[in-house]
């Protein structure tokens, strides 16, 4: 466990030294949502019906764009090889890295989402469910993404390939995440999809780090 905490502490420290990243996340989310109505009619009912899909697509894209920073800097300065050699279980270290990555990205998404909901005209009573669904769903994006990014680590530019690898695996998160939001916006109970999201999160926490660790070993072999 000490390795987990040390890893988490180190990554959070690095994150705190580069606060710009967090601001970029906020701007990305806001920009995407601000541009979207420009591509269609600014009719409130239309925007409201598209709001869940839009928010989740923004989360998916943000994950895709930022996933590279999960392992790439450590690969470049040689830290990653040391992690592979350490006595601590690699899966636990990966979990710590994903946790730090999520605190610097996904969590910010969750915090900004009420503002974005406001822009899209989401009723106030739906905001808690929207935040909860992002809170449960975005870590899964990071955990599954860690597998994809670890598999493509040996490549110079993984960009589009990474999306091909991880987007099909994001389907359940998208469905239940957007499903919960949709239900909340329509004033229906959203507990069902939220339970499913929690299940996905537990499954991803327990299995994805193992797969990502195996993928790292394959990539750096």
């Amino acid at each position: 466990m000490s390795g987990f905490l040390a890893m988490l502490r180190r990554d959070l420290l690095l994150l705190a030294r580069q606060r710009g990243e967090a601001v970029h996340h906020v701007l990305f989310f806001l920009l995407l949502v601000a541009l979207f109505p420009l591509g269609t009619r600014p009719a409130p009912d239309l925007l409201l019906s598209l709001a869940p899909a839009l928010m989740w697509m923004a989360a998916l894209l943000a994950a895709l764009l930022s996933l590279d920073r999960l392992f790439r800097p450590d690969l470049e300065d040689g830290t990653l090889e040391q992690l592979l050699l350490s006595r601590e279980p690699l899966a636990l270290l990966v979990l710590a890295k994903v946790a730090a990555y999520w605190l610097g990205g996904g969590l910010i998404f969750v915090l900004v989402s009420p503002l974005v909901g406001l822009l899209l005209g989401v009723p106030a009573q739906a905001i808690p469910v929207i935040m909860l669904s992002l809170l449960l769903g975005t870590p899964v994006l990071g955990l599954i993404g860690a597998i994809g990014v670890a598999l493509t680590l040996g490549l110079q530019r993984a960009g589009v390939l990474l999306s091909l690898l991880v987007f099909p695996l994001y389907v359940p998160v998208l469905i239940f995440g957007a499903g919960a939001m949709q239900a909340a916006i329509e004033g229906l109970p959203a507990a069902g999809p939220l339970y499913m999201l929690s299940g996905l999160l537990l499954l991803a926490i327990s299995l994805a780090p193992l797969a990502a660790a195996a993928a790292l070993r394959i990539s750096l072999e």
């Binding site: 598999l151 389907v171 359940p172 469905i175 394959i218 990539s219």
Partner: protein, 246 residues
């Protein structure tokens, strides 16, 4: 005895010999069974009481859909063997099977959409089964793209294997989530027609062509595996000897 056979099978020269001997035993029945299944299905089976002759595409569609799932599962089993025992032959199976499986998935999607046009009045419906088949195609393409992108062949095969395993864990989750999604958003009233219990004279050709397709897959995968292994081991002695005296 079984263990020894398992180890022997892992040796590329032994596999080359076995695959060569096995090929005609798969190829001939594959062609014959598929041909008979198609003939019986297209010509002999009675027309459906609701759909008339349009239902006959089932004899291509269902075997292709069945294989799209079967091949992915087989690929994932081989991927586990490849990662655990580092067996070259299993790695070759994963790489060889992916494009074949993707082709069957594509065939299932295309025939499904051709069938959908007269039955549902549209080429594409966001039906749960169609959608999960489409995502299955993307999973196949992901495995192929990853294998293509990594230059070193063995680590490419291992990476593709890991992705196949991650994919197979996700296939049921994706399937059920898509089903849940479709029932939530009950779309336009395009429902699957109620399938009555299928008549034996219609079912038999279907089973036979499914068996034929499966053998066809086994044959094709063996051919592709042989090529992959020969190319990979191009520098080794057994390949040179084998090429001189095949």
């Amino acid at each position: 005895m079984l263990m020894r056979w398992f180890h022997q099978l892992g040796s590329p020269p032994y596999f080359q010999m076995l695959a060569r001997r096995l090929s005609p035993w798969l190829a001939v029945p594959a062609v014959l069974l598929t041909a008979w299944g198609f003939y019986a299905g297209l010509v002999h089976a009675p027309p459906d009481y609701q759909q008339g002759d349009a239902f006959r595409i089932i004899y291509v569609h269902v075997p292709a859909a069945w294989l799209s799932l079967f091949v992915y599962t087989a690929m994932a089993v081989a991927a586990v063997i490849a990662l655990v025992w580092r067996m070259k032959v299993a790695e070759a199976f994963v790489i060889a099977a992916a494009p074949i499986g993707a082709s069957f998935t594509f065939l299932a999607l295309v025939t499904g959409s051709i069938w959908g046009k007269p039955m549902w009045g549209t080429w594409w419906v966001w039906d749960a089964r169609l959608t999960s088949e489409l995502i299955l195609l993307f999973l196949y393409l992901g495995v192929m793209a990853l294998e293509n992108a990594i230059e070193e062949p063995r680590s490419a095969a291992r990476a593709a294997s890991l992705l196949a395993i991650v994919g197979v864990v996700n296939v049921p989750i994706i399937h059920y989530s898509v089903e849940w999604w479709n029932t939530l958003h009950q779309g336009p009233t395009v429902t699957r027609f109620d399938a009555p219990a299928i008549e034996w004279s219609m079912l038999l050709p279907l089973l036979v062509s499914a068996l034929g397709f499966t053998l066809l897959f086994a044959w094709l995968v063996l051919v592709r595996m042989r090529v992959i292994l020969l190319r990979r081991e191009a520098g080794s002695r057994w390949v040179r000897e084998w090429l001189q005296n095949p």
